[in-house]
Symmetry: C2
Subunit: 514 residues, 2 copies
């Protein structure tokens, strides 16, 4: 097991840029090994890419007429037909797009970045943090229906909280397990963190912005007033699901990236490597383990076809897999049937003019709302260009179900109506839209896998082991759900498992070599 031990160790150490071409002799044995991969998303294509390097014979079946799965940028003529809905075709201009699936790459998703480098996919900053975007509380409290700048809420809350703690500590009301020197340091920290004044009180500071900005000559700038703490609280702007603690989340901390020109460039770059192995518009209907192989039935424009392979990698999302015919054991079958996926939706709105940049100096970042929109994302690309596609909403759970249940045109209407409360420029500048409800999208039926600590045991664990010749892979087979990193890590993991299995069967050869 020389190689089986070395390869993952090297990979874990980040010392290998990519899976190396194995140098052992029984390669002739591999040549015969047929691997059938279900799904040409990032995981399926990456697995094929790595297995191909190792000399395996791979075929990929893809239900759609395009690759990438959820790694999908909606562009001119992109289309999708949701369940119980007509076909929707994008009328975006050439060059306009939005990422319907993953749109952000954290700087610590090393493998994702490594593949972007290896595949020559240029990256640019995804500007996830923007203090110039808004909080918008519709119909709630004294600050309702107002555009509140993120920096105003952030700095007012930090200021008030620092003032309160300062007061508490300086009045000796807390029993701190700290030296006198360290207590002084905490106080000094709070003064700086909160931007407290010389009386250690929070008053408005320049951090929250100006009514009249500083400029030349005698324009020294006029600072705006802080919002009363009670107003912020009762308008819900400090509520955890609203206040932007998302920025603190490990995966959402800057630096973040996106592929230049659309996230689907990553899928395209993989397709360029393994495109010859992919059968598109080939929808799997049945997966059956035989004694020493797997038989898969798929249908395409010409009818039903059977294909047999030594090993199968199934990247089909579990909610979709649950509807297919298979002969998996009952606990695997149950795990698949009870898997949970997030309900989520996005709408892209093409506007004639980047009014958010031109009129409001908003460049990228997110506006948060308490209504069905949940979030408006401003594009982090092509700043200062003429047109642009806003993400008019990106919502989850109940809000995503409610909005997803609407027709495409009613979603657009809602996005425009609610969005115009924040950006009155909407009606004048709007051109067209395209919406995606992932839980209503065939071949996905959900955004990404959701696990609790219980279902990590009851659903996830059973699926980690191959079901005879069938291996389960994809973001749902990782602790990186929702991230492209999940697809890449899962691909590497399943390639390792399969290669180790094949190596073990060739034990006689290897022993002779050692």
């Amino acid at each position: 097991m020389l190689l089986g031990g070395t390869y993952p160790a090297l990979m874990a150490l980040g010392m290998l840029k990519a899976a190396p071409a194995y140098s052992f002799e029984p390669k002739t044995n591999l040549k015969g090994k047929k691997i059938l991969i279900l799904g040409a998303g990032l995981c399926g294509m990456t697995a094929a890419y790595e297995l191909q390097k190792l000399g395996y014979d791979c075929t990929i079946l893809e239900a759609r007429d395009r690759t990438g799965g959820r790694c999908w940028s909606v562009r001119k003529d992109s289309n999708n037909q949701e369940i119980d809905s007509p076909k929707q075709i994008s009328k975006f201009d050439e060059g306009q797009y939005f990422n319907a699936g993953p749109s952000r790459i954290p700087h610590h998703h090393q493998l994702t970045l490594q593949y972007c480098k290896e595949l020559n996919v240029p990256l640019q900053i995804y500007n996830n943090v923007n203090e110039g975007s808004y909080y918008f509380a519709e119909g709630k409290g004294p600050l309702s229906n107002k555009k509140i700048k993120t920096r105003e809420v952030h700095n007012d809350m930090r200021g008030y909280m620092s003032e309160l703690l300062y007061k508490s500590i300086s009045q000796d009301k807390l029993d701190l397990d700290l030296s006198k020197d360290d207590v002084e340091k905490v106080l000094e920290y709070l003064r700086a963190e909160g931007g407290l004044d010389i009386d250690n009180l929070y008053k408005a500071s320049a951090r929250r912005g100006y009514v009249n900005p500083p400029s030349a000559s005698n324009q020294s700038g006029t600072i705006g007033n802080a919002f009363p703490l009670a107003d912020i609280l009762s308008s819900g702007l400090a509520d955890p699901d609203f206040y932007n603690v998302a920025e603190y989340t490990y995966e959402l901390q800057m630096t973040m990236f996106q592929a230049v020109g659309g996230m689907d460039k990553i899928a395209s770059a993989l397709e360029a490597k393994v495109g010859n192995l992919i059968k598109k518009s080939a929808e799997v209907t049945s997966i059956k383990n035989l004694e020493n192989s797997v038989k898969v039935v798929y249908k395409d424009g010409k009818g039903l076809h059977e294909i047999e392979a030594d090993i199968c990698i199934c990247t089909i999302p579990l909610k979709v897999l649950s509807n297919l015919e298979h002969n998996f054991s009952s606990n695997i079958s149950r795990a698949i049937d009870y898997a949970s996926y997030i309900n989520t939706g996005k709408i892209g709105l093409q506007f004639k003019r980047r009014f958010w940049e031109e009129d409001e100096q908003i460049y990228g970042g997110i506006t948060h709302t308490n209504n069905q929109l949940t979030q408006i994302f401003y594009p982090s690309n092509d700043y200062h260009s003429k047109k642009g596609v806003l993400l008019g909403y990106y919502n989850f759970n109940d809000k995503a179900i409610e909005v997803g249940a609407l027709s495409y045109s009613d979603r657009e209407k809602l996005a425009l109506e609610k969005g115009a409360l924040i950006h009155p420029q909407y009606p004048k500048e709007f051109e067209n839209s395209f919406s995606v409800s992932w839980h209503k999208t065939p071949y996905n039926l959900g955004g990404w896998a959701l696990y609790s600590s219980e279902t990590r045991e009851s659903i996830y664990k059973p699926l980690l082991k191959p079901e005879k010749q069938v291996y389960f892979a994809g973001e749902h087979m990782t602790y990186l759900n929702a991230w492209m990193a999940g697809a890449f890590e899962s691909a590497r993991s399943v390639v390792m498992d399969i290669n180790n299995r094949v190596n073990e069967r060739n034990e006689v050869y290897k022993k002779a070599e050692d």
Copy 2:
């Protein structure tokens, strides 16, 4: 005064993209008006650009053989000769550079962004916020000489402070002027803000990062331990001059931009518009007001020359101006002589390989140190490319004086030695350097103007009014010191003042028109 009133009002409202070509008749009168501009930095060139649109006859004298002033990107063959020092010539590779002067554009510096748009200067995100960079305390406390991730300090401090305030409030130790409901909301906010656990205590959370990151299969990820509060404090990591409250500063809040390919692209774009008006290598030696004009003496390779104009715009930094011959009144002269500028320096270090990206997943952002380096800036451009220029230090005040006093090679030595404590890859990957000490650089003698509320009265105010035919302009004539926005706003302001003055003199014409 029809136009005098309308133009600034429209400008203030942001309704004019650029100064319009005035349509009033006495244009023939303007044609004769000669405006002499001293300095082809951003302010001088912008003033010429706008005055030219209005029909004025402008000449710019520039002491250096290049335009842009402090808006300067050091590239292959760039050079500088500091006071009492030999000439330094950059050995950077073609395509490698760093911005020796301004390197960031805040999203709310609307006029700067507007000029970039008007002049077709492409922008990209300047990634000022990066949770993956480091805090490094040399020789101080239990966390000394360790690379502490920014996210670790940020989240530990937020966590501990939130826990303390939670405790204080929930034990009724603070007399809050809030309803019971609002108190509950504050507690809920603190739980979220601090990432407190179910016992409302701060323990390490995923926000501060992993020892082993989550991945595929059974790799659920292992979270690192929080640093003890006392350790953070005694290592000085929460000190105001170290802890990254700079990110909260209005001007440093994301979104931030830079010009693609170097900030000097902005200067080049302006030069493309007014280059024909500029006399380079023309060092002003004397400025004298005459009865109704100004006479300026400058020297170039051929000797001394005299030039006369109706009006002069002097953008020469005050510390430089103080050394020139002039006939200004005593209070203006005193204001100039007593002006204060910041001492500051930067060093660009070219490396063979972007080890900070490849080995440490640091993409842009700033590492903070307590030693002479003060800050290391990672490039926010050309991610994943081979070579790169790090800003090895960017320091101020005493540290800038200490380091600036060293020879170029000793600065390099210091930057490499101190930097290698953080990045041991330095010695192996280093190629060459270029350092700039602004307070030792001729024609600047400082980084940017520094004012106190006292000197705003004693120095700044007197200079706001023209000294007969001489107008003072530049970032030092604004409340936007250190920012390119200061140069642009000052240019617009002085153009307005001059144009109003000329219009008033043409009152007879305008009255006839009204």
